[in-house]
Symmetry: C2
Subunit: 377 residues, 2 copies
C-alpha cells in the first residue's frame, strides 16, 4: 500500500471508574493497570510499528497535554493535538483528520482509544493493516468488529451485512447497521446472528472522513474549515498566532457528539461502512472486574501487582503496589490501595465505582476525587 | 473493709490475633481498639478508684516495660513489675502477691488482664469490691464468673456449687469445678446448668495466695521465697543489687503454668474457691470479630474509627485511622490498615489471623510481624 498510515490515539478520557487510582488529573489511560506501563503507553507501543513515531498522533484535552506528552516523550512534540475542551469523539476525530490530511491528503488514519487492552498484538496489527487497506481500496469507513464471547450489554454492536466481494486477504463485511448498548435479550440475539462488538477502532482515509463530515455534520465541518484556514491548510503544529483562539472559539460552537452518531450510523445506512472482524483478545477495560479478568491470576484466581498473601481467598484483585496486602477468606473482592484512600469492594459491583465518586462529592469528600493523589511515577 | 485493695493488672500479652495492628513490640493491650485510649489505659482507668494510683500495680515483661510505663505515666514508677521472661500467669501472679504482701501483709489483691473490654464500669467495680470483701471475710480465692450469653467454646467455664451461706451483699457460690474450653455440646450443657465464663479476673488476699502457692506449687513458691529474701522482704522496687539477677535466675527455673492449672483447679477441688457472678458487659476481645461486636455501629452494622463511606455494605469493621476507606457491596468484612500492611478478611474467620502470622513468617514476610510498625502515638 503506497498510502501512509497514521495512527491516531484518542486520549481524552476522564477516570471515574477506577477511583481511587484514577482522579480527574490521573485518568484511566495514565494508569498502570496491567504492569509497569500505562494503558496509553501500551497503546502507543502496539501501533508504533505501523507508521513509526512520525505517524503516531495523539489527541488529548488541554488539561492532560503535559502529562500525556511526558508519558510518550519518544513522540515528536508536533504529534500531540490538544482540544480546548472535550466535545465527545466526532470533533476530536475531525481535528485529527484535518491534521493527517494537511500532512498528506492521500493518507489513511487508524483511530484507537488510548485505554484498551489487547492480548495478541501481532493479530491486532494484521487486522489494523487489513482495515487500512480496505479503507483505501474501497474508499469506505472501516470498523474493527470484535468477535463477542458473551452477550455484553455494555457495548455497542455491529450488525454484519453481505461479505465484501473481492476481499481476498481477510473476511470483511458490509455493515448493515449499528446497535447501541442492547438489553440482555437483544444482546443474546445479536450474538446468535453473528454481530460484532464495536470497539471504537476505525480506519479510513482522512479525505473520506472529511467528505462525510461535510455531508452528515456540516456544523462541525464548517468549524474544521475555519481551523484549517487559520493554519493556511498546513499542520496544526505550524506556528500561527491566531490558531489556538480560533480552535477555542470553534470548539465552543461544535456539538458534543460521538463519531458513531455523527458519521458511522448515517454512513452505515447509506452502505458506506465496512467491518473487519478481529480476534486478538480485546477488552475496553471498563471496570476493576475487567482488570481482574485480563490480569494474570494464580490457581485460585487471585491477581495482584504487589506483595501479597491470600489465605482461603478466591478470585480477588489486589492493586497495591506499595504495601503488603493480606486476604483472609475473601471471595470476588477487589482492593485498590492509594496513599490517601482505600477501596474494598465486590468485583461483581465494580461498575458502581463510578457512582461512588458522585457519592463522595455529596458527602464532602471532594478532595479525594480530584486531588491529593501523589503520583508514584 | 479495713484491708487495702491492690489492683494488679497483668500486661504481658503478645499480640498475634490483631495483626497487622499488633506486632511483637505492640501487643494487644497497647492497641486502641475502641477509641482514643489503649486497652491497658482503659483497664487502669476502670480500677483506679478502687485503691488509687498507689495501689494499682502492673506486671509486664521486661521488653514491654518502657512502653507500658509510658502508657501509664500517671502511676508511680515502683508500681511496675517486670518479669524477665513470660512464664504464663502463675509465676507472674506469684510475683505480684510477693510485692503486695511486702507492702501490706493484710491486703487483698484483684487480678485483671490488661486487654479486656467492659461496658458497665460501675457494675464492674461493684462486683470487684464484692469479690474482694468475700476473699477477705472467707479467706478464699474468689473468681469473677461472667454470665454467659451464648455457648462459646473458646472460654473456660466455672461450674457453680452451693450458694454461699451468709453472703448478704450479693449472690456468691462455691466453685464445684472448672471446665476448660469445652466442645460445642458441652458448652451448651454448661450454659443450661448455669455455669459461668471464667474471665481471668480474681480477688484474694496476698497471704492466701502465697500459702496456696506453697501447698500446690512448691517449686514456684520456693523461687518466690528466694526473690523475697533478695529484697529482705521489702518491696521489689527497693534498690537491691542482686535482685534482678536473682529474679532472672529463678524465672529460668519456674515452670510455665497458668494460675488456673497451678492454683485454682486444685484449690477448687478442696473447696477453697468462690465465684461471684458478674453482669457488666464483658469481652476478652479475642478477635477482630469481637472488636466489631463491641464497637458502636451504624444502622447497617458497620463500625469504623476513621473517615469512611460504605455503599451497599453491611456488618463490616474498618480500622483505618489515617485514610479514607470506601466499601462497595461488602458483607462481614474487616479492614485493618497500617502504614506498611493491609489486612482484608472475613469477620467470621478473624480467629485465623493468628495463623496468618505464622504463614507470613513462612513466606519470608517476617519483617511485617515484628517490626516496621511506625506508631501513630
Amino acid at each position: 500500500m503506497r498510502q501512509k498510515i497514521y495512527s491516531v490515539i484518542i486520549a481524552g478520557g476522564r477516570g471515574t471508574r477506577f477511583w481511587p487510582l484514577s482522579r480527574s488529573r490521573k485518568p484511566k489511560q495514565l494508569l498502570k493497570l496491567f504492569g509497569p506501563k500505562t494503558l496509553l503507553r501500551e497503546t502507543a507501543d502496539r501501533v508504533l510499528s505501523l507508521g513509526g513515531s512520525d505517524q503516531t498522533l495523539i489527541v488529548t484535552v488541554a488539561e492532560q497535554l503535559n502529562a500525556v506528552r511526558k508519558e510518550l516523550s519518544g513522540l515528536p512534540r508536533k504529534n500531540f493535538l490538544a482540544e480546548p475542551e472535550g466535545k465527545n469523539t466526532a470533533p476530536c476525530i475531525g481535528l485529527a483528520a484535518l491534521e493527517v490530511f494537511a500532512r498528506d491528503p492521500d493518507s489513511v488514519m487508524i483511530i484507537l482509544p488510548a485505554d484498551h487492552w489487547v492480548s495478541d498484538v501481532p493479530a491486532f496489527r494484521r487486522t489494523l493493516k487489513t482495515a487500512a487497506e480496505l479503507a483505501v481500496r474501497h474508499d469506505r469507513l472501516v470498523t474493527i468488529g470484535i468477535q463477542p464471547t458473551y452477550p455484553e450489554t455494555g457495548y455497542g454492536y455491529i450488525v454484519k451485512g453481505e461479505p465484501l466481494a473481492g476481499a481476498e486477504t481477510a473476511d470483511a463485511y458490509q455493515v448493515k447497521r449499528f446497535k447501541e448498548k442492547p438489553d440482555a435479550k437483544t444482546a443474546r440475539r445479536l450474538l446468535r446472528n453473528g454481530s460484532l462488538w464495536n470497539a471504537g477502532i476505525f480506519a479510513w482515509k482522512a479525505s473520506t472522513l472529511l467528505a462525510l463530515m461535510e455531508r452528515y455534520q456540516p456544523a462541525i465541518h464548517n468549524s474544521l474549515v475555519k481551523i484549517a484556514n487559520a493554519t493556511g491548510g498546513k499542520s496544526l503544529a505550524t506556528p500561527a498566532p491566531t490558531l489556538s483562539s480560533v480552535i477555542a472559539r470553534e470548539y465552543k460552537k461544535v456539538p458534543s457528539i460521538s463519531i458513531d452518531h455523527a458519521i458511522l450510523e448515517p454512513a452505515g445506512s447509506e452502505g458506506r461502512v465496512l467491518t473487519v472482524p478481529g480476534e486478538f483478545g480485546w477488552s475496553d477495560v471498563g471496570s476493576w472486574a475487567a482488570v481482574h479478568q485480563m490480569s494474570g491470576r494464580d490457581p485460585d484466581g487471585n491477581a495482584s501487582n504487589g506483595r501479597w498473601l491470600a489465605l482461603g481467598s478466591k478470585d480477588c484483585l489486589i492493586h497495591a503496589p506499595d504495601r503488603l496486602v493480606v486476604l483472609l477468606g475473601m471471595r470476588d473482592a477487589f482492593i485498590v490501595d492509594t496513599p490517601d484512600a482505600l477501596l474494598v469492594g465486590d468485583l461483581k459491583r465494580s461498575q458502581e465505582v463510578r457512582d461512588l465518586v458522585g457519592e463522595l462529592k455529596k458527602r464532602g469528600y471532594d478532595s479525594y476525587t480530584i486531588d491529593g493523589f501523589r503520583s508514584r511515577g
